[in-house]
């Protein structure tokens, strides 16, 4: 019934089911989502605003927006330390980790999904159990390991212990399990051996999951601070995150420089996210639903 024709005294709750609620729901959910977006975006906006302030302005109480944007903070921050080198190191580290995790996660995930071997389920559960161990717990053993190998402050030391991701293995296993077995059977009858079946049929069909894995692995590696901080010492081996943290010393903190470097460091990830949102969503679905 239309609002204008409603009889006087008729109660709202006596209207046909859900009419009012149906009108309210989109507005309500938009408001909630906007609020959530604001909460999520606020730190980034604050970081961007701070990156354009002077040293003293950061601590003034006049507001969170800069009075006169200091764009010079950006070139000054990026030349205060060898950020070009840091970015290169971050790129080498992230790309190597992505490549390594794709190799280990796809092969191990396929084995857990498709190859029958004794104790498969138990080994897989053991792998999963390691996801419950906090990252910081294994930092020291990892450090001791690369130290024993003489790999401190080297690329191999920085990269090697990041090459396996249990989350990635889990993601790939779940995806491989969704592929129709008949495709692999057909390839076997066509004469393909196990590795050819994996490379020629299963892996190409798992491209969406591999893309998701690559994206998450890249972002994780790019924003990793703790491990590169431990595994590297020289400025030549530093990654961007460690360089940003270096603006924060015992006696001095240069917030505008740190925030300016932070904004630049976030840009590649933000761009990546803009173009690959669907893979993020798919990754979360694969991890969460199955």
């Amino acid at each position: 019934m239309r609002r204008g024709t409603r009889a006087m005294g008729e109660r709202t709750w006596s209207m046909p089911n859900g009419t009012r609620a149906a009108r309210m729901l989109p507005a309500l959910s938009t408001a909630v989502l906007l609020g959530a977006c604001l909460v999520m975006a606020a730190p980034f906006l604050w970081m961007a605003a701070t990156s354009l302030m002077g040293q003293l302005e950061v601590f003034s109480s006049r507001g969170i927006l800069p009075a006169a944007p200091l764009w010079s903070n950006y070139p000054e921050a990026l030349t205060a330390q060898p950020f070009r080198r840091y970015f290169l190191n971050s790129l080498i580290f992230s790309v190597a980790v992505v490549a390594g995790q794709i190799v280990t996660a796809t092969t191990a995930g396929y084995a857990f999904a498709r190859i029958d071997f004794p104790g498969r389920q138990k080994v897989f559960m053991l792998f999963l159990a390691t996801m419950m161990v906090p990252v910081v717990i294994v930092l020291i053993p990892r450090f001791l390991l690369i130290d024993a190998l003489g790999w401190i402050d080297t690329y191999q030391g920085l990269i090697s212990t990041e090459l396996v991701s249990v989350w990635g293995i889990f993601l790939m296993r779940q995806y491989f399990r969704t592929l129709p077995r008949e495709l692999e059977d057909a390839a076997r009858v066509d004469g393909a051996g196990p590795f050819r079946v994996f490379l020629g049929v299963a892996l190409p069909l798992a491209k969406p999951a591999v893309a998701t894995l690559a994206l998450f692995a890249f972002i994780d590696a790019w924003k990793n601070l703790l491990w590169p901080l431990l595994a590297t010492r020289s400025m030549e081996m530093r990654v961007v995150e460690v360089g940003i943290a270096a603006f924060h010393s015992t006696y001095e903190i240069n917030w505008p420089y740190q925030m300016a470097a932070g904004v630049v460091a976030v840009l590649p990830i933000a761009l990546l996210f803009l173009f690959t949102q669907r893979y993020f969503v798919r990754g979360i679905q694969l991890e969460g639903i199955r």
């Binding site: 495709l183 009858v189 066509d190 393909a192 050819r196 020629g200």
Partner: protein
């Protein structure tokens, strides 16, 4: 050049999945160049048997031979077999040409030969214009042809078909069935065709193997399977409409009775089942001129017409009898009956079947001793 066809032999092949026996001591001999149809209800083990031949499952016992060669320990790709799957199992990331040539590429065939064989196969199946398309861009019928082509392109010694027609609509299924038969005639290759559709099995197979609960119950020509079923399951499973049955029980004098019929069996039986195909019965309306239909000269029983399926070339008359059975008669459209009409039934006794208590066939039923009419 098409290679010489190979036979397939199964000797006591068994396959278990946990506590479930999928295939139990299967013995089967498929002759070189033969088209063997493997038929049975869902879950009877026929697809597992095909996968055992293909090498996609390992037998728990027995031996599989392709040609003269035992292949239990031979990889699927080295068995000289090709398989067409129910879902077609086309590689979705490859074009039609890629799908057709995959098996050849895996075997290291040179590029020129792959192209030549893919083109030749595509011409035979009318796929020339589709070679650059992906499976997702094809209709069900086209996908089926690609699956067939992928099997053909390698010139295998044995073709295995795992219910390849079940995803097609009725018209396309009939056409594809004819094409497979024509392909078999042209290639002369050994083919094993799995289906749950008994009409498909009888129309396509040179011989038919009927399976149930993991066992091969009977192997024979379609006519033998239909006319001389080895047991009650085969008799009931094969034929549409299904064979008519009547339970017979033993009387004190040793005779077997059921409804209006009484028989003197050659040897004492506690119970038996009389079975008769719908086309081996004749009916005529009761009334002042019972002999209006020449086929019913000596009525054996009576019943009432329940309903009629008029199919044009024939009519299927459903009866509420004899006794508590509900028989179906395949009659000529010239037989004039209507629902509710009382009719005489005449049985072609020489074409009936008598099955013992364990379901095995004992031969045709003897002529009844006394005809108990109007029961």
């Amino acid at each position: 050049m098409t290679p010489a066809p190979r036979g397939v032999t199964l000797r006591g092949v068994e396959k278990r999945f946990g506590a479930v026996t999928a295939v139990a001591a299967a013995d089967l001999e498929v002759r070189p160049g033969e088209l063997m149809a493997l038929v049975g209800p869902s879950g009877c083990g026929k697809s597992t048997l095909l996968r055992l031949i293909a090498g996609l499952e390992e037998p728990d016992g027995g031996e599989v031979l392709i040609g003269e060669r035992p292949v239990n320990d031979v990889a699927p790709g080295d068995r000289d077999v090709a398989m067409v799957f129910q879902s077609y199992a086309l590689y979705p990331h490859m074009t039609v040409a890629g799908n057709l040539g995959f098996g050849l590429r895996v075997r290291g065939t040179n590029r020129a030969e792959i192209e030549e064989r893919v083109d030749r196969t595509a011409r035979v199946l009318g796929l020339q214009d589709l070679l650059s398309r992906r499976p997702g861009q094809l209709s069900g019928g086209q996908q089926q042809r690609v699956a067939l082509g992928r099997a053909m392109v390698r010139d295998p010694g044995v073709f295995l078909f795992d219910e390849p027609l079940s995803n097609l609509d009725a018209g396309l299924r009939l056409r594809t069935r004819d094409e497979i038969a024509a392909l078999h005639r042209r290639l002369g290759t050994t083919m094993i065709f799995v289906t749950h559709d008994q009409t498909e099995a009888l129309s396509l197979g040179q011989r038919v193997a009927v399976m149930d609960q993991g066992r091969i119950l009977q192997v024979g020509t379609p006519d033998a399977i239909y006319r001389q079923p080895a047991n009650l399951f085969v008799a009931t499973f094969v034929g549409s409409p299904p064979i008519n049955r009547l339970r017979l029980s033993r009387e004190a004098d040793g005779s077997l009775t059921g409804g209006p019929f009484r028989f003197a069996p050659e040897r004492p039986l506690d119970a038996a089942t009389l079975a008769v195909r719908p086309e081996d019965l004749a009916i005529a309306p009761q009334g002042p001129q019972p002999d209006i239909t020449p086929a019913v000269r000596q009525p054996d029983s009576t019943a009432t017409v329940l309903r009629i399926e008029a199919l044009g070339s024939e009519q299927r008359v459903h009866l509420d009898g004899p006794a508590d059975a509900a028989w179906v008669v395949r009659a000529s459209p010239s037989v004039r009956v209507s629902p509710g009409d009382p009719v005489h039934i005449s049985v072609a006794w020489e074409r009936t079947h008598l099955f013992g208590p364990d379901g095995s066939r004992m031969g045709p039923a003897p002529r009844p001793i006394h005809l108990l009419r109007d029961t």
